[in-house]
């Protein structure tokens, strides 16, 4: 009897152990499983880290089969997560570049029944994305911060490293990191309060600058590098904020005044001949064209603030820039007129063809504006491109181009309406966006417990190699060089 029992138990175990594969009477569903992040039918670069995902809902187990068009098949099981093996994922990507992966997902309910859901596809673009993403992690927030840091993430793996964290520099504020044409060796960022200065890192050499001059209204604020690496254009802003009382709005960030300036990195001088310093207009968020011959910026007629906070609208303008002479032209073109909406964050694709910007009902700081959406103009014919696939019903704001102009990272609050997360979007040769997908993480639950926003995500072509300790040392010991204004 005892032997028979043992035999029965062994048989039961044998039948039960199917390697996690669905077995028995499997229900086939003609609807998609609910995933987080939602990677169904997205276009991804061939050098992206594994798209680990979680299946939503109550379940006992889950199972996924990834099938490449070239015939490669890999299967994974889990409780409610599918964690892909990096090696197998890489094989799938390299073996199916330009093709699709089909992903079939099955879930086992608590009562043991399996359901197989409608397969979804992942298209592997032949266009690579820049290898690294640099962002600031900060609590989304109001007037206070606690721990802030600028980090870099290798998009091909899950490695994240700090570039500098404020717990190394007296818990000050640090912001507005910017790279010259995606070059990890040429970057700048600001620190405020303790060790307040603008820091420029050029191939390992660190400069610490005091950028407030008698000729400008503030320190440098929102920067953008000239492709030559010689100039940085930034706005100078007298920034204020207030908090709303009604539920539809949270807070408002606005400028009492602002100008756009150009800073000569070599001469450590702000060039008045290349700056747009006016009393009758607020200029902000400048950027250079990839060739460096145009300076783009947002401009609104000067008005009384904060009274006009919800009626001020910024035009998207440009002016020619002579890099050899370090001066701007005399004619300002208005590319997008702010009749109904306001524009901000103009960014030209590195191939010079597309101008991406953010549109919002008013103002130039759309992070708390749920209506903020990404817009794009094809500069070859100055027509708007339909970006509805890329936008969401929540805030879509900052964006950065990949060097090959085929990828964009965009800040969006679509996941929870509060924390800004980075979404990657493929832009095809004619400018049409694909469905955005959330930056993959090793543990797909990570975003659930993460209490930071990804601020100013910038795509860069490699790893930033300057040591955080070198930056800390520079902040704590270097004297700040006063920049000139001429």
């Amino acid at each position: 009897m005892k032997t028979a029992n043992s035999l029965l138990f062994f048989l039961f175990c044998l039948l039960s152990c199917t390697g996690g594969k669905p077995f028995g009477d499997i229900e086939m569903r003609n609807e998609s499983a609910s995933l987080f992040p939602n990677y169904a039918d997205v276009t991804i670069p061939p050098n992206i880290a594994p798209l680990n995902f979680r299946l939503e809902g109550e379940m006992k187990a889950c199972y996924a089969t990834l099938t490449g068009e070239n015939g490669q098949v890999f299967s994974y099981k889990g409780t409610n997560q599918i964690i892909l093996k990096p090696g197998q994922w890489k094989k799938l990507l390299t073996g199916n570049t330009g093709k699709s992966l089909s992903v079939t997902v099955s879930t086992q309910s608590r009562d043991g029944r399996w359901t197989t859901w409608q397969p979804f596809h992942i298209y592997i673009s032949p266009d690579s994305i820049d290898s690294h993403l640099v962002y600031r992690l900060i609590e989304p927030g109001y007037e206070k911060w606690h721990i802030v840091g600028i980090y870099q993430r290798n998009l091909e793996t899950f490695d994240e490293k700090p570039i500098i964290k404020n717990d190394m520099t007296g818990y000050n504020c640090m912001n507005c990191h910017s790279f010259c044409a995606g070059d990890p060796g040429l970057m700048m960022f600001h620190m405020r309060a303790t060790y307040g200065a603008t820091y420029i890192v050029s191939n390992g050499d660190i400069s610490k600058l005091n950028t407030k001059t008698d000729g400008t209204i503030s320190n440098m604020t929102y920067p953008y590098w000239h492709p030559s690496g010689r100039y940085i254009t930034t706005s100078v802003n007298d920034i204020k904020q207030f908090f709303h009382s009604v539920k539809e709005k949270k807070m408002e960030v606005f400028d009492f005044e602002s100008d756009v300036i150009v800073y000569d990195v070599e001469r450590q001088t702000i060039l008045s001949a290349a700056s747009i310093i006016t009393k009758d207009a607020f200029e902000t968020f400048p950027s250079f064209s990839p060739g460096g011959e145009w300076l783009y910026f947002c401009s609104a007629p000067a008005t009384q603030m904060p009274e006009s906070y919800d009626s001020i609208r910024y035009n998207l303008c440009r002016v020619s820039f002579d890099a050899a002479q370090g001066r701007i032209g005399s004619t300002i073109d208005t590319l997008v007129s702010a009749t109904l909406h306001s524009t901000t964050f103009p960014r030209i694709s590195p191939d010079g063809r597309f101008l991406m910007y953010t549109e919002t009902a008013y103002g130039q700081f759309p992070i708390w504006h749920k209506d903020a959406e990404t817009r794009m103009i094809d500069l070859s014919d100055c027509k708007q491109i339909d970006m509805s696939v890329m936008n969401s019903d929540d805030t879509d704001s900052y964006h950065s181009w990949s060097r090959n102009s085929r990828w964009v990272v965009v800040s969006s609050r679509r996941d929870n309406g509060l924390y800004t997360l980075p979404y990657l979007v493929h832009i095809d040769a004619s400018g049409h966006p694909s469905k955005p997908f959330l930056l993959p993480q090793k543990n797909p639950d990570m975003y659930d417990y993460f209490l930071y926003s990804y601020n100013i995500p910038e795509l860069v072509t490699g790893e930033v190699t300057v040591s955080p300790y070198a930056l800390q040392h520079a902040a704590q010991t270097f004297p700040a060089t006063q920049v000139r204004f001429e």
Binding site: Y142, K144, K247, D415, D445, D448, Y449
Partner: protein, 590 residues
Amino acid sequence: MKGLLTYKNLIFLLFFVGSFLFFEVNYRYWYRFMEQYSLFLNTDAYFSDLLKQVGGFNEYLTTFITQFFVLPFVSSVTIALLLTLISIVFATYLHKIFQFSTLNFQLLTLLPAFLFWLFPVESIAFILAVLTGLAAALGYASIKKPLVRYVAGFLLITVTYLLSAPAYLPAALLMTIYECCTTTTKKGSGYTVSLGLLAWALVLPLVAMRTCYVIPMREAYFSRHLFHPEYALPASFWYIGCSFPMLSIGVWLLRNCRPLFRNEKLGRIASVSFLTVVTVCIIYFGKHPLEQVYHYDWLARNQQWDIICEHVDKHPVKDKDALVYANLAYAHTGRFNEALLRLPQIGDEGFIPHDPVTRLGLIEASEVAWLLNHTNSAQRFAFVGVLSSQRNVQPRLMKRLVETYLVNEEYKAAEKYMKILEKTTFYKADVSKWYKLLNPETAAATPWIAEKRSLNPVTDNPYDLTKTLPDALAFLIDDHSDNKTAFEYGMGYLLLYKNLGAFIHYMEQLKETGQPLSVLYQEAICLYYNAVENNPEVFHSYPISSVVYSRFSGYLQQVRTLSPALLAQQYGDTYYYYAQFVQPPKMPSR
């Protein structure tokens, strides 16, 4: 020996009971308050993320234990137990070195643990780290074979560093002392090894900074979890941390001294008596200065506003934070009028903290804003309270965030915090109730949400409750005259500052509703129409009771004839007396 063991146990038992009483009597609500500043998540990721940090395992244990501090007696029992264990382990360690059996040293081993009474720590992270360090040192001292002990020493320092920094520091120091003091060690190798252990402990964080972690030096040495990283390490950290090696050295120096009592029995009685007296004295005099406000905060957290009022009725309000809770409790329960002049009012800051940045201030500001139905402000202060806390978590304020997001129909943001809270032991019950409220229709039909929504501000304004209270209150009342708490708060503010003109403006509105007027309001109306505006017709349109009116008439007749003391005795509880004779709090400068 048997007697000594019994005596030893009695000493430790006394200390345990004393510790329990000390923390239960004086710090019960303080530790319930501190429980809010850690958040233990029942997830693998929480464990693995902490394990990757210097001293992360210690933090894991700390948050695991701390979550139970919401239960009665748990914090007191836990801390008493940990402190007693520290004393036992330290005594055993000293015994390993000196083999002492005298009474003097037995009491001395309690001294470091007593320091935790004098400098109560905010979280048990430090206590656990000390205990781990002592346990490592004791483990080291228990190994007989020198070579094995040396190897174990280096390993123990490394492991305690990674798991429980700064436990490795007392561990290394005590290992060094052990090597230097024990006579069984060959002196030469003992000194070399002790120096090596100490050097390894000092170098290890620097090695870690260059190889594993990118962290500030303070975090590398002391971990980020023990104290709020933005503030300097408290002096008590050094006092307590250094007490163990100092005491060890002291005992070594005094090892050959003769005991105070030659008669062992007499010595035991004296020791026990001394310990008892000291314990009772410290328990009696060691009250936490802010225990009242932490008590009120606990009651506010559990929405027991009536009990706050009952307590204030019987006990004096001791500080401005307690006053905020007292004012709010009375206003929320509709009894502000009877208590306004009785409480030691200090003006704006007694109503809501000014531009709060402290833990308590942010919680209070959020509570006040929430009960005044200024949902955006309640959310904002809760949010800042979460992010500025030591560990970037604050479950009580996270709950408030969920509530505010539900009221403001921001369901995805509410769900974000619900997902976190549902992984906790004690907050998940609330979350399970809230999940159904993510359905807009269910939320709209839920009474508390419907009420909050109906009282939410509709006129946008930039006034900050904590900076411009009267302006912000005016908008709240003007938007919704049925916002009772805001109304009581607003009228209380106006009466406190004797702004009868504005007060009468609101009374005219209140009169229209036909609601009965409180005695305080009636007294103020009597005063206004007697001293400011002589309009009998309007005055008689107010429902003033004959009792109030006749008392006011009596006051008018007697105010010039009665002595100040008698006047105060007879009319000191009336508004007209306050208005005429009591200096209002200083107006805040804006």
